[in-house]
Symmetry: C2
Subunit: 616 residues, 2 copies
């Protein structure tokens, strides 16, 4: 059973946190311990070695050796319980002030601690705000820790692990508290799985989109412009435009029409939509020096789109009304949370909104899911979806019946599109159920990318209407959907997914011509070829530089250009072209030759069909 395996792996990782702490206590007996939870792929422990002592990565060998001794010793993890006051006395006696603080909090009210720390790592916590009576401890040999468990049976049963890094971390995440050191390790059930994970990390490092962004000249940042505000070079802009055009095209097939709205608005718009009350602290505020208007930068586009919908009377025959807008939203992210394109302050959404009748929801969702399926199929990422439903609480707006019907419509559309899915109650937004898209990239990492979101609330708040067949005013439903999500975030994933080896339809440079020399006849012929390619819409460059052909070929490889053509005497004389095809695209074993028209025509067609392999 997968769940049992997961529990077992969780216990291994948690036990390794204790074993790492055991080793650290042996090496630095004065160490004060914070918390040591399980995280994705591993574990960490926050430690304080005293005012003048710090662990560094240079110490990892020593610590791992000490951990190996603990593991070889294979001593049991033994659980015990004691009243919380006794535990506090223990913490004082052991000079563990962080544990003492936790225990005091636990004594007062369990949930206060549970809120800001992973409760699982602490002593037994009774539910609610009730004070705690007993807490549990786990002991392995000479190391005892306040802990709820569970653990593996004995220190020998912890699988394979590796210490990864050490970083500064404020006690309980608050920068006013003491700065501790957070020591991270990864751990898996078998050495093979650990090796696979480490290989994946090494591969991910090579593919880091920030590194590739620089090497392939895709985007740049400037201190003068500010953090989280990328600028895209001509090459990077091709990526943006191509993926956005594809995403738009998919929806335009289903009747979506482009609209355009400005990037700012008076805050009145969000007071009406309700966003102001909820998110006003996370918005960029815009001050007009000429007027008293209080403006903000838009963090989303739906309220603007309702203004276009509401600008005309709508009848049941006009619905669905489907708006599409690729536009940049601004969110005031903390500088520390920004990194490359993964999290930015200027995020461009391939956004869309459907205004429809309730009986049209399933069809609309179906269209959007088909679009998402096709998109993620073409970019070569595995897609699965989460159906996010309401739970039994009263935190949701709209009738129970409406929720039941629409949740069923969402599920029906997911099944009709043959999508891998799972369902989760309590994951819906308060204003409607949704479908979250998750994709797995080429090296096995899963990302949430986009969402299809029903909305019963904004139509209400904005008083949107259509006239039904019997002439009565009715309220439409809104469906929010961005297929890519944020284009910047999508590109951060896609650049790493492809390792910068973009298929022809996305490649900023599809063909590179390399002249064998700088003679006029060669250079002119290359220029002629280039013009021919440009005329049919190809992205092509020519390398006429005074370098050796070998060096120029190597350069084209570094730029990961799909097709490279060496232009020499034979080509100038009217001979066929023999393309060098980038390895990942090539399917034929031997390089073949093509007439100029055939070669360019084939590439243009590959781009148009958005294929991922070469047909040459």
């Amino acid at each position: 059973m997968p769940d049992q395996n997961q529990d077992q792996l969780h216990a291994m990782r948690h036990s390794l946190a204790h074993i790492m702490a055991t080793a650290i206590q042996r090496l630095w007996p004065q160490t004060k311990f914070g918390v040591g939870p399980v995280v994705e792929n591993g574990f960490y422990y926050d430690v304080d070695l005293g005012p003048d002592t710090k662990v560094s990565e240079d110490d990892f060998n020593k610590i791992e050796a000490e951990m190996a001794k603990v593991i070889t010793g294979n001593v049991p993890f033994e659980k015990s319980e004691m009243p919380v006051d006794e535990a506090i006395a223990w913490a004082q006696g052991s000079h563990q002030p962080y544990k003492e603080e936790l225990l005091n909090d636990l004594k007062r009210a369990g949930t206060t601690v549970a809120k800001d720390l992973d409760a699982a790592e602490l002593g037994t916590i009774t539910s609610g705000d009730a004070a705690v009576e007993n807490v549990s401890f786990y002991r392995n040999g000479d190391f005892t820790d306040l802990c709820r468990g569970p653990h593996v049976e004995s220190t020998g049963k912890v699988g394979a692990f590796k210490l990864m890094r050490v970083a500064g971390a404020y006690w309980r995440g608050n920068e006013k508290n003491a700065q501790m050191q957070r020591m991270y390790g990864v751990a898996f059930a078998t050495p093979k799985e650990l090796r696979q994970h480490l290989d994946m990390l090494a591969e991910a490092k090579k593919r880091d989109h920030r590194k590739l962004g620089q090497e392939l000249d895709l985007f740049v940042f400037s201190d003068l412009v500010g953090s989280g505000l990328p600028m895209f070079t001509p090459r990077g802009t091709v990526l943006r435009d191509e993926v956005a055009a594809f995403s738009n095209e998919l929806r335009q097939r289903h009747g979506f029409q482009k609209v355009w709205t400005p990037h700012i608005t008076k805050k009145d718009l969000y007071e009406t939509s309700g966003h102001w009350a909820k998110f006003k602290d996370q918005l960029f505020l815009v001050t007009s020096q000429e007027t008293s208007d209080e403006l903000v930068m838009k963090p989303m586009n739906c309220p603007h789109h309702t203004r276009i919908y509401a600008s005309q009377p709508r009848s049941y025959r006009d619905l669905p009304v489907r708006y599409l807008e690729t536009t940049t939203d601004y969110r005031d992210e903390k500088t520390g949370e920004l990194g490359g394109l993964n999290r930015v302050r200027a995020l461009t959404q391939d956004d869309s909104h459907v205004f429809c009748r309730q009986d049209q929801i399933e069809r609309e969702i179906d269209n959007l899911l088909a679009s998402a399926s096709e998109l993620y199929g073409v970019v070569g990422m595995d897609l699965r979806v989460r159906l996010s439903y309401r739970d039994d609480s009263d935190a949701y707006l709209g009738s129970q019946e409406l929720w039941a019907t629409t949740q069923a419509q969402l599920k029906q559309a997911v099944i009709a599109n043959d999508l891998t899915y799972f369902e989760e109650e309590g994951e819906a937004a308060f204003y409607g159920p949704k479908i979250d898209f998750m994709v797995t990239d080429a090296i096995g990492r899963e990302f949430q990318v986009a969402t299809v979101q029903l909305d019963f609330v904004q139509p209400e708040r904005f008083g949107l209407e259509y006239t039904s067949e019997d002439g009565m005013p009715q309220r439409p439903v809104m469906i929010h959907c961005a297929l890519l999500g944020s284009i910047e975030r999508f590109l951060s994933v896609y650049i790493e997914h492809t390792a910068g080896k973009f298929p022809v339809w996305v490649a900023p440079e599809q063909v590179r011509l390399i002249s064998v020399n700088q003679e006029a006849v060669t250079v002119n012929f290359a220029a002629e070829l280039e013009q021919k390619a440009i005329a049919i819409g190809l992205r092509i460059t020519t390398d006429n530089s005074n370098e050796s052909v070998g060096k120029k070929i190597r350069a084209a490889e570094l730029w990961k250009v799909p097709y490279t053509i060496v232009v020499g005497e034979k080509e100038v004389a009217g001979g066929d072209l023999t393309p060098r095809i980038r390895g990942d695209l090539a399917v034929a074993e031997v390089a073949k030759s093509y007439s100029v028209d055939e070669f360019f025509g084939t590439i243009a067609n590959e781009a148009k069909m958005r294929v991922s392999k070469s047909s040459l």
Copy 2:
């Protein structure tokens, strides 16, 4: 000589201002007069009839009748001079406090007055800040006015005029001053010219883009979003996208590449560019609540583009580097100055920047002028350009020699492109000479639309470089150019130019199908036709509504749809289609029939070739 005619017309208009004042003084003897200058097409006079008296348009007949008497009287305009102190005594004696204030200012320092009022309308002003000694008056019969002249000989020689409107106006444009009434009239040398002008105004009113914007569902405003912030409906977004795509395509042919930059930046960028010192009061300020970053909305794109240029080392071989970006800039315009799309706070520029060597300027300008020529040729507006040069002052940056060479290059490119041009010294920006585009629309109005602007200063301030052939760092020149200028402003002109009858390539709806009935066979056939048209990229709709065919045809006409097809029994049976062609597009006298493929294919081709007449 045209200049003499202009001078004569100016004197006529100015004399009419006096004649209107004469009439007003006769009708309302207590009137206090402000200033009465000549403006485009006519004249105005600011008047104050006292606290409880107001002129209204209902009085225009009465005033015009009184003016006619003055004109029939044909009394001479007589000039006299007197010392300024005597003039002040005259103003006091005549109970003309506004004139008295002007005379007191004139006495102190001529230029102070000249700065905020049209100096030509005032008494003789000696140059510089020197105090004035003598001022001149003009008298016609019973009316005397402080005035520099010149006037026509006598009141009978003033051509044809019409009073147009009356509006509130603060004395000297300052809202802290008294509110006067500004009475406007238009005037021309002949009744025929006046008639033509009034016809043009009537036509302009019919074509008002704000009216057409609503009737043709092109754009909307919302009080919740704010003034000057238009939102474009699906139809209006087609206009935006088509004109921008054309403008981009023209430059992409000349090697321009799209880039992308965010809409905000730290103000540091503009401190470096120098814009902060000059324009900081006209920017929208952006406050980050999460960081201490001081941000602003970009009012232009050049500083961002320098950051992309500077992100890589550039060699002389890499130049010109040509960036293209259609992006929205934000300018904090006063609310009172906003109107429709003509002046907005969110203006989308089809902007571009060339970074080149000095020896490349002429070629680059040549390419841009060729693009502008083609663009305004296709949209059917007459283009003429102004070559704006430096003058002899020392207000310009960059060497005299650089200016002389580059001004000559601009002129050469203008001549090579066979453009109508005129030259003006002193019209250049301090950072470089420029070419201003002026277009004349279908009803004879001239607008300044776009600019090609050389810039020697930003490359300097940002320290931009390239490596010359001999390995030395050199400074590139920047060329700013937007062909359309602001897309919103261009559309305000273009909508009125076309009166909403867009050629096929721009038309939001290119074809409308009208079903003769609601029977399934008809509706299904129309749907089939619609799918065929969509498949080849046409913008088509179908009117299946339960209205008469006549009513549906009338509706298509109101929407100004280029082609309308009535789908009936004959068409369903496989017969040819007989398009109704919008009047302005039609060239053939008789309606012809076409096979489905021929009809759609021809329209698609018309759109692709951007023709302005139908070939059907």
